[in-house]
Structure formats: C-alpha cells, structure tokens
Amino acid sequence: MALTREQMAQRVAQELQDGFYVNLGIGIPTLVANYVPADMDVMLQSENGLLGMGAFPTEETIDADMINAGKQTVTTVKGASIFSSAESFAMIRGGHVDLTVLGAFEVDVNGNIASWMIPNKLIKGMGGAMDLVAGADNIIVTMTHASKHGESKLLTECALPLTGKGCIKKVLTDLAWLEIENGAFVLKERAPGVSVEEIIEKTQGKLIVPEIVPEMVFA
C-alpha cells in the first residue's frame, strides 16, 4: 500500500537526530513535527526569521506578530530566537540547518529539483525554496512517486523549470525511500506491501535496485 501523508511524515521523522535544527516546508513536511521521537529534541527553523518554532497558539495566545513561513500563527519554544529574514537566510544559505524537508513536482537522477513553476499556469513565486535547496547539505524531498495519471515524478531529467541544480540526494515518495548516487536513483526501502516491480514501473529515471530492498518499518 502506498504510504499515507502521515506515514510519509513518520518515515521522514526517522531521519531526525537529537539536536538537529530542521526546516520543514509546507504540506507533508510540516507533519514531520508531529512525529519527533519522544527521546529526541529538534528545533524548527522558519525562514521568515524564527528558530525554535512551537505549536499553534490557543485562541487566547494567538498573536498576529508571531507567524511561521507558511504564514500560520505559531508559538515559540523555550530557547527560541527571532531575527531578520537576512539573518534567517544566512543560516540557511550558510549550511547551518541540519535537515531541510520540502515537497517537489519532479526530481531527477542528477539531483535536480523542480518545485515552483508550471509553465502556462500562474506563477506564484519560489518563496524561500531556491535558497533552501541551494543552502542545505541534507535535504529530503517528499512527494508522490507518480502523478494521478501515473506519470513518474522521478525522472532522467526534470522537464519543469528547476528550483535547484544537483541539490537533492534523498527522496521519500509514497512508495519508496530512494537516494540519488552517481546519476541514478538507488532504491533503499519500499513502502510496506509495495512491490519492487511497481516502483520500477513508476520510476522513469535510471533506478538501481539492490538485491534486497527492505520494507519500511514503522514503530
């Protein structure tokens, strides 16, 4: 079975380490915050200018001046810091964030990512996505493996305009965990109950399938 959005978030959360500073994009990445292991602490960075993002506020504590990069009202955790957007992107561009999780339309075997622009559709802008993919060493892209029409999103070469070039090494889809190495996707894990054949069929770019492809394990 393909992973649910919650399971995808859970799988990404397994990549967290105690003491990680993490930037989570909008959508599935945001859900990762719900699955931080109990024995572990991570601090969430929000690119508008906040390190140490906390939970949503209550009706009583809601504050228009306290929002995250998704423009949602949030709170801070103890030990948070707040700064300008230039300082925030200094952290991001300077490679100080330990893990960045974000969505995409397409990735390819050379680690290119397209996530912000579909020609002939209205272009809303890239926000901080280009800075995030260019600045981070450790990025996980989360997306469905193929479109609703069955078209693969793991390609030989991205067809859409890029968000970043050669930036991506790890991809979690609803079907598989893959890493990009030497111009190919390497199939590392498959979703429980999903066959290697289905993954091969839905991967357009070069795919390396090791002899053993374990199923993902969820706690």
Binding site: N48, F56, P57, K165
Partner: protein, 233 residues
C-alpha cells in the same frame, strides 16, 4: 537633540516627497509586520507607476494589495505573490510586471543595498530561470550567481517601538524584512505602535539604529491575520 528628532505628526508628512515612478521598499512578510498606514497613505496620495520591492504583495483589499486597486504599482519585486486575485489579473493583462526573486536573495539584496555592497554571489537560483542573464562564477568548484543589490527612493517600515532618534525595535516575527528595508531607503519612514523616551531602549537591543531612519510616526494597526491556526484547547 532637535536635529535628531525624527517624529512627524501626520502620515501626509511621513510620505512627503514620494513621486510617480519611484521605487519603494516595504517591510513585512505576508500580512505580518507590514506598514499598513504608510501603504494606505500611498493609496490616498494616488502616486502612480511605483516599483515596489516587498516579499509579498498583500492580499485583495489589504496590505500592498490596496495599491493594485488604482493600478499604482507597475512593477513588483517579490518572492511570492499568491493569494491575490487582482494581482493575478493585472499580471495576466500585462498591466503589472513581476520580478520573482528568491526570498533569501531578496533579503540579502536589501541588506547589501543598505551596506554599500553593489553585488554578491549566491548559489541560490543557479541552473534555474532566476539565473537567466546573470553572471556566474566558480568558487571552490561550485557555481554561484552574481546578484545585484537593491535600494529604494523610499523604504516603508513597520516597527514596534521607536524613540525620537529613530532607534527601532520590532516585535516577534514582525521583524522579517523590516530592518533590511530600513537600511536601503534614501528616505526611510518607520511607523510604530509606540514612541518611547530616548534612552529607554537598551543600546544592545536596538534592531535598527536611528542612523538609517529619517521619519518616525506612531499609528494604529489592524494587524490582520492571514492564516489563523490554533490548537485545540
């Protein structure tokens, strides 16, 4: 210190000198920390043909969105311009030009503009449409783009508290682009919620030193929330 007293008494005075065709840098991220009343004054004034540099363009009917109603903006430099039907319409009509700029690059362009740095290199945007027409250069085997700084004829800024000398502090994440815009305006106008006595702000906690600020005005703010998210009680 009469020469350093930057407080003005009216919004008209605050935006005096703004003329058709000028470039305005605006602080704020989404609807958070936007100079609501300075924007409203630009609308009232009816200044046309503006280039506006701001991370976003507000929403329909609020924030910078109100300047679209009378087509006062001809060019917008932003990282994200969704959530605005009028913007979309004017863009598709060709009435509005938009220069999409990555958020971190936009922040750094403003900082550089204020800091006398005409250009800097960043890996952001390499190999993307953002790189079109821009010089690139290799540093340590990686390709970087040359990005040029941005300055404005006016910077409009929303602070929390300021003193009469124009020293400003921002509240929470309403800081965002505000201190960057503040450095890069030929004339920098800051509207705040409260004016405090000179000396009340701790010198080590001032976000924007008064040297960057030309005019200060105290205002009332709606502070509209764009995405109200709360947890179950």
């Amino acid at each position: 210190m009469a020469g350093f007293d930057k407080v003005v008494g009216s919004y008209e005075e605050a935006m005096a000198g703004l003329k058709d065709g000028m470039t305005v840098l605006a602080g704020g991220f989404g609807l958070c920390g936007i100079p609501e009343n300075l924007i409203a004054e630009i609308k009232r004034k009816g200044t046309m043909g503006l280039t506006v540099v701001s991370n976003n363009c507000g929403v329909d009917g609020f924030g910078l969105g109100v300047l679209l109603e009378d087509k006062q903006i001809c060019k917008m430099v932003s990282s994200y311009v969704g959530e605005n039907a009028l913007f979309e319409k004017q863009l598709l009509n060709g009435e509005l030009e938009v220069v999409l700029t990555p958020q971190g690059t936009l922040a750094e362009k403003m900082r550089a503009g204020g800091a006398g740095i005409p250009g800097f290199y960043t890996a952001t945007g390499v190999g993307t449409p953002v790189a079109e027409g821009k010089e690139t250069k290799m540093f340590n085997d990686r390709e970087y783009l040359l990005e040029e700084s941005i300055t404005g004829d006016f910077a409009i800024v929303k602070g929390w508290k300021a003193d009469r000398y124009g020293n400003v502090v921002y509240r929470h994440t309403a800081q965002n682009f505000n201190p960057l815009a503040a450095t890069a305006g030929k004339i920098t106008v800051v509207e705040v919620e409260e004016i405090v006595e000179v000396g009340e702000l701790d010198p080590a906690h001032i976000h924007t030193p008064g040297i960057y600020v030309d005019r200060v005005i105290v205002g009332q703010f709606e502070k509209r929330i764009e995405k109200r998210t709360v947890k179950e009680a």
